[in-house]
């Protein structure tokens, strides 16, 4: 089904978050590849925050992403 605008907002939030704090590269090519990398980065983030590691943008993961926080990446480059 078409993605709802709320879901789109969540994905955008997650992309911004993962790029900034988990070193997700920008400008990936191809939908499949993008989603694989994003899922891997979501897993890294879920592991760090001791959430259930699903690789998916569930409510708990989004909740942490929306919290006020420090701008230094969690995974050092």
């Amino acid at each position: 089904k078409p993605i709802s605008s709320e879901e789109k907002d969540d994905v955008l939030l997650a992309e911004r978050y993962l790029r900034r704090y988990y070193g997700m590269p920008a400008g990936l090519q191809g939908e499949r590849k993008t989603s694989d990398v994003m899922s891997k980065k979501i897993r890294e983030m879920q592991e760090f925050f001791k959430l259930e590691v699903t690789g998916k943008l569930d409510d708990d993961t989004l909740e942490i992403m929306e919290m006020a926080r420090c701008g230094v990446p969690d995974v050092a480059e």
Binding site: K50, L51, M67, A68, R69, C70, G71, D74, A76, E77
Partner: protein, 367 residues
Amino acid sequence: YNHFPRDLKWKTTDVTFRILNYTPDLKKADVDRAVRNAFNVWSRVTPLKFKKLYEGNADIMISFGAREHGDFNPFDGPEGLLAHAYPPGNGIGGDTHFDEDETWTKDFHAFNLFLVAAHEFGHALGMAHSSDPGSLMYPVYTYGKGYPLAEDDIKGIQSLYGENPNHGKVNPKPDAPSKCDPELSFDAVTELRGETIIFKDRFYWRLHAQMPEPEQNLIKNTWPEIPNKVDAAYENPEKDFVIIFSGIKMWALNGYNLVDGYPKYIHKLGLPKTVRKIDAAVNIRDTGKTLLFVDEEYWSYDEQTGTMDSGYPRSIEENFPGIGDEVDAAAYHYGYLYFYHDHLQFEYSFASRKVMRIMRANSILGC
């Protein structure tokens, strides 16, 4: 705790700082105090000494800026990103920037400058983010009073710089409790719409049927209004609320949301004024009664009429033989009461009035 790659740190214990500009949200003196106190947090446990410069180049250059502020690492407007700092090094190394689009305060309102500065100076000294939710170096902002370093932060900074030779022991914030610690005890246990919530110190675990592992969170992260220490909690599934007790006050939750009109005093339930704290609370779904445990006695509260039952308090030891004389937490499932005391859990049959099993308290956490 974590460090930056190659364990970046200052080569000398004398580190300089300079405040380049001030936020209009606070008086200059309040910013100076917040910054100095934030440095003191770290100097208390290390040999580091921080000297303030008023001109020229300091190791840690402190500034407030909004959006793009000169380092190609822009802020994002109000909330979200609050501040950032660079690990020790030449040039921009150690520099600490605060987002001027935030509201900076010296109290519990968002965002307390001292706490954010203490966290950022941790980075400026070589500490990376910790995944311990009780540590100062956890990446998410949480307000708390008292000395902000946890044991985890202290171990981290001392492994870079060593201990403070002139300072005795500090009282760090306790680390997040470990669920499989064999000595683990609980503060309170309650159901919440099918989930189980277990309170311990500043934290709670959330057990959900669809989550393989318990999830640990800071109480303040979910409910900033509730105190850091919960004494007791219970769910009334009929009325769909959870009552949380701390000291002489109680809060109500509907789902995860706080109900308006709270906190209320526990004495509104009909408890005598001599009761200053409830140890444990449990609602017996089959009878509609809520049992409130205080020291070595318990009361029975009728949820239907909103009154205390007569004939109470009664002795815990006499009416629940085998569980001892005090309880930390209690829960009720399918005719069994589960009493938690110290590191033990007693499964008590309500019908046959006896203890059926004794387990470790943390068996509920899958340990």
